[in-house]
Amino acid sequence: MDFSLNEEQQDWQQKAREFATHEIRPISLARDQIEGGFEPWDWGVIEKGSRLGFRTLAVPAKWGGPGTGFVTQTLVMMELAKGDSAICKAFSQNWKWSHLIAIACSDDQKERFLKPFLSDHRYLLGRGITEPNAGCDNRLPPEIDPKAGYRLRAIRDGDDWILNGEKTFIANGSVGSLFFIDARTDASVDITQGGTLFLVPKDTPGFRIGKVSNKSGWRFYQNAELIFEDARVPHANVIGGVGTGSVKSAGGDTTGGDLFGDLELSANAVGVCDDANGMAMAFACSNKRAGKFLIDHQLIQLGINEMNMLTEALRSFVMRVAWEHDQGQRSANGVLMVNYSTDVIRRVTRLNMDIHGAEGCRNNPRVSKLARDAMIWTHLAGDTVLRLKAVTKLERPGLAEAAA
């Protein structure tokens, strides 16, 4: 049992802290307050971060990346998110698919796509699975309805596949250079058997970006529609096998989901909570009510206690799971952790509002920004479907054992 960080981990943590303090945080609120869906985006901070390695942090050393583990990635996300949750996500979104490429792509695919990814500071990655009528069903396919889930069609045509359909809310959609697209190659069976995952570069003929989502939280972060009208994708861009089910197409953790995905949102939440805790304490130590600093009122102390208590519980959980995932350990812990991060980020950002009160909320829009960012967790990390899914990963006793 050892919680200390090694030198590499400390170095990355420190580098991320400085970048968050000097480059992210100074622009964070201003970007949030820009009207529009695409407009809050800023290539400047992405390029600066990319030069420091934050875009390609998860690429393995043998492919030319820094080759960091989950613990390091977790530490970096906590720091970046403290500067801005959405900007942190714009970086870490690329790590998720870096993991996917490393684990699931062929050498030829790695050659064709990792190289440009590593060399171009504006090369971003995204994955398209959600569709207007297929969100949660992709994550927990219902037994009673095998046709549930994504519908985007892919039909074989010689050495190519022809894709038709639409994806929605796709992360990095409006700024990505390469997308991992889940399509149905066989509509007669469920998505675990009839789904296939394709590599689709942004310049693919017949593929274009639709509407960019204009969100109340994570405004910097881009989500957009991807539209496929007879889009032609070479068979060489199929990841793993055809029809083996895109969610697990290469037989391993191809989604970045159960090992990295849960960590990503949970670590980000810790950063937001750290930010909230700092804001709340600073406000309480510099504003008075009834002749006393807020920090000297028990009501405020109880709020500050709860904020810090929940944040430290979450941080402990996240560091533990990061280590477990570095060991390749799979359990319910990943999903339980990300569910938990939802409860914590929502509560902590709410308590930050309570401590600021009307005056503080009015005078500092960052108080509301943190709560708006936190709302994103509700559907990405802590919705009912994900909570039910966690239970499927717990061990169940047999009937005889249970009744004993």
Partner: protein
Amino acid sequence: MFNLHLDAEQIEFRDTVRSFAANEIRPVAIHPDRLEPFAKPLMMDLLGQASELGLRVLTLSEAAGGVGADTLTSCIVLEEMAAGDVDIAVTLGETDLLGHLLFDNWMTPDQSERFLKRFTEDPAFHLGHGGSTPEVSGWNYHEDLPNETGAGVSAVMQDGDWVIDGSVSLAANAPIADLMVVPVRSDWAGGMSALVVPRDTPGLTIAETGEQTQVRWHHGSAANIQFRSCKVPSENLLGEAGNSPLSGGEYDALHTLQRAAINLGVGQAAFDAAVAYAKIRRQGGRNIVEHQAIGKFIAGMAVKLEAARTMIWKAAWVADHPEAIADRSVSDLPQQIIASIFTAETVLEVTQTAAECFGAMAVMRDMPLQKYVEDANMFVHSNGNDVSTSLQIAEAVVGYERTPAA
């Protein structure tokens, strides 16, 4: 005799406003084109139409030319209006409340003479409140300290006129008000005084804040106002100098109640949206309304809204029937504060739960859920609601008597 029947007029009012909100207001208020931009200008046409329905003078006595409705009716109506648009409800409520208090209670016949006719005859005539929102904080719990008042406006008597100086941030209804009611510090013995100040008085500047941020932290129509050697005649004093009727508690109590009713309307709108969506959204092979998890959400929201509404109606009725406290039919706790904090917390939970039913759609700016959540957040953290508010209830429970400040 205990009786929860509404009378026919109350039900008719409710139906009228509900249908007006559903058919006229909501289609405009939550249209994606209006929802998406940060700025949400007050919908003046619809405010005018609501005014034509009599809602601007709802609680003004019939004798003065109003509808003469009681506080309960006002709460019922404001909830329905708020389910259409929270800002119209807040704006109308402010004018209606000030109108009732000014013309039914506070003004002398001479003062009424000067303002009442224009008020009742011009549907665009609004009243504003040139002070801070009611202070119902409990920070001085069990301390003899008075709570801070935000008053930054003073007035001195000069040659028979009041000369006013100072500024107020986010004065309610200031952008549209024709007449402002302004609490002022004066050199008189005792507490605050109150003056009425017509909008066009020289020395009064009303500056719309023009907030273009994601969340402007107030409801209704508000502006920063400034007084620079602004003169009004001595006849513009309400009640006695040093004894402002605004400080008497009546305005604060009714204002608190109004806001609770409006707050509830936001929760109801979110709930209705969630139930409608749950009936059509398919997931896991069935409409989501059929999932136990969503059923639990719906039940939880329904219980909470029912409870909040019941508490508001009780407090509203008690406001008009203080004798029910004396005869011990209801408790002597501050019902309007109870209703207000209960509703604020409840509606925030309801809007968040409703948002959960919508999944990712809940955070899209062209959809109403994100607005409902933010409106609810504001009610929890504005208008005197904060984490200390409930301590006032604790003081009432234990019968703490504050020694007045020297």
